[in-house]
Symmetry: C2
């Protein structure tokens, strides 16, 4: 219980709650672990709980009947997810799958929802949280519809790289990255290769290093 409590304290939209409230939540929290590739929940299912990731990474994605996959986002330690379904009483709009061994706390919907009525400041945090989701989805739509694969790759690199290095976790294969960018591994491979050939980046299994940030920014069509 103690552990759950400490974690709850760090969730953004629970900020400002006093200890008794948190203890109550902590008492209803359930611990879950998932093996790599395990399905955490499926698109269309009714959501029953909010998740708070303790360790591991997952992907949230949609799939087409013929097996193609579009990843909406990756989620790592410290991030809450499935708030949307829980707070809005909707079915899960997408599927969540563990990319590696994952441990997470589940807080049943009722426990969290009660807070909405009694603690308006929580509601405000929730709104801001979901608003960020909308913003990132809007920019995903714009990327998919308005920009070439090369541009999207360049943008991903600029987005993810810290100090011009984008570290690659074990699961960050070209297959997963391609699904994130809305394309297929082959095409991503070609795009990366042509960047390597052009001397813009350097790449190995564990990281991608940006060598020529300026050219990359031109490829990304970032506006001044």
């Amino acid at each position: 219980m103690k552990i759950a409590l400490d974690h709850l304290r760090t969730i953004a939209f629970l900020q400002g709650l006093d200890d008794p409230q948190l203890v109550e939540l902590a008492q209803s929290a359930i611990w879950r672990e998932y093996a790599p590739n395990a399905v955490i929940f499926l698109e269309g299912e009714a959501a029953s709980a909010i998740y708070y990731m303790d360790f591991g990474w997952i992907k949230v994605s949609k799939s087409s009947p013929d097996g193609r996959e579009q990843i909406l986002r990756f989620l790592g330690p410290g991030e809450p997810f499935n708030e949307l379904s829980v707070f809005a009483n909707k079915n899960n709009p997408a599927t969540a799958i563990a990319l590696e061994a994952v441990g997470a706390w589940l807080i049943p919907r009722e426990a969290v929802r009660r807070l909405l009525v009694t603690h308006p400041e929580v509601a405000i945090h929730v709104i801001e949280n979901i608003a960020d989701r909308v913003i990132s989805l809007v920019s995903l739509v714009a990327d998919l519809s308005l920009h070439s694969v090369e541009t999207r790759v360049a943008r991903m690199l600029l987005d993810e790289a810290t100090e011009d290095v984008m570290a690659r976790r074990r699961w960050a294969t070209q297959t997963e990255l391609a699904a994130r960018l809305g394309t297929v591994p082959d095409v991503l491979s070609r795009a990366l290769r042509s960047m390597v050939d052009a001397g813009v980046i350097e790449m190995n299994r564990h990281e991608i290093r940006v060598l020529d940030r300026q050219t990359l920014e031109e490829m990304a069509m970032v506006e001044s």
Copy 2:
């Protein structure tokens, strides 16, 4: 003022408020009209008010530097918009443009935001409203990334048609519809034409009529 009050009463997320509250809102409401093609607000601008559409239609879209446009949604009479930016204190994530003559009420952000703290039920409505936005964006992403133009066209027809007829407003040109579907007018034209040739639909300037719903559903790849 009276008029504004009557309209406010019909806004979904203001349901449950008592009259004095609404009167206060109505007093701060501002009336605005826009000519066809007028820009209502631009992507990136700070949002200062929530809009409530009285008459006319608008489009919310993102554009690329080279002029291509992706429409996120159309909005008509009775629908509120820009809640996202107002409630979450973000800049507008997209641009809004009038498709025809538009009249709308603006309610300044501060007036609405105060309600969030004092009236938790309003917050819940706001969350549900934004959640719907997330869901429709997720399905737009899936459409763009996972399905062909023909499939998207078929889906649009099935979505929009009532009684197998999709009425076309004056502004619903192939240019606008194509921008909504994430393609260009020519390609949309071809897709529609091939459906007409296949006897699946019938089409004129004012409406598109579904003749063979079953085939259309197969094209839309709706899952059983």
